[in-house]
Symmetry: C2
Subunit: 194 residues, 2 copies
């Protein structure tokens, strides 16, 4: 729980009493590799704060192809947010890629905490605002950058993810084919062989 | 200002006294067609609430091509949010497409209002959360849908925008070429001629 406190305090300081109050809203959960926290069609009960481990949130199109909305490493918050906030059936899958510990938060717990403790209202506003501006950047990248530019930018923004996650999934996140990603990686392979 | 109150009250009711307090933070401005509210490189002083009129926020890539992040019709909030929140130079342009009236809000006014009136903290959290989930949908659309699917979904989601905005800009929003958009429109032209 201390890591959650550090994470919250990146946005706003909280007293010992306040954190005591906050942590009561969360439910701890261990998650195995390949375990699904959300499957398409589920009612989405929780959002999840990742204490450690790796997750991906993905959409499967009509042709059965997977498209990755989000990777979640430690300190990420994940859910199918449209379904979570509107309490509708999920259109996404959320699956564990590396054994993990998460903290689970229901919508009613989240709203109660935000209404009773103004610092948490502030925290959630700031957090989603940061996520919103990061998403704007991703939209501009998808609209304006070619596959090589997208891949190189991803590598410089998220060097840890590049190391930890199979290339197949990076391709599904960047909206490029696996063949294209292999071609983009080819010069690096040649260098390492020479 | 009454329209701003209606807009806020879609998320939370406010009393006459509270709205009296809120409206003092906004500065009214009339905007001419083709007038820029933000240009690349500007310090971004304001976010804008659109009382009426049409705007677009766009990015120009290294090759000089325009990519549209957002259209703004009445009740939209627009800015280069990354630059606004981090008080850095804008990477976007925000331009008026149809004569407009806007209300301007500085970052310090926004933060003061949110900290002094918890209903506005709640309003801004809920608003950006809605915008965040809408953006997630757009990312999935850009990753998974072909140009025809994107165009048809846009038409059913935003029938007003399709009517009011030249096709060139719709193409720049959907990440498809103008030639492709013309081909997608071709069957409609044939039908109207027959």
């Amino acid at each position: 729980m201390n890591r959650l406190r550090n994470h919250i305090e990146e946005i706003t300081p909280v007293s010992d009493e306040e954190f005591e109050y906050i942590q009561r809203f969360f439910i701890k959960k261990r998650v195995r590799k390949h375990q699904y926290l959300i499957e398409v069609g589920d009612k989405v009960t929780f959002e999840y704060w990742i204490a450690n481990g790796i997750f991906r949130t993905f959409y499967i199109d009509e042709g059965g192809r997977e498209h990755i909305l989000q990777f979640g490493l430690e300190n990420s918050w994940l859910s199918d947010y449209n379904a979570f906030f509107h309490q509708t059936a999920s259109q996404m899958n959320l699956v564990c890629m590396e054994e993990a510990e998460v903290l689970c938060l229901t919508l009613s717990a989240r709203e109660k905490m935000a209404s009773e403790l103004s610092k948490m209202e502030y925290f959630f506003r700031r957090k989603v605002t940061n996520d919103y501006t990061a998403q704007q950047h991703r939209i501009i990248s998808l609209l304006s950058q070619n596959p090589r530019q997208r891949y190189e930018e991803f590598g410089s923004q998220f060097p840890e993810i590049i190391k930890k996650i199979p290339k197949k999934y990076i391709a599904e996140y960047l909206g490029i084919s696996r063949e294209m990603l292999s071609r983009l990686n080819a010069p690096d392979r040649r260098r390492s062989l020479s």
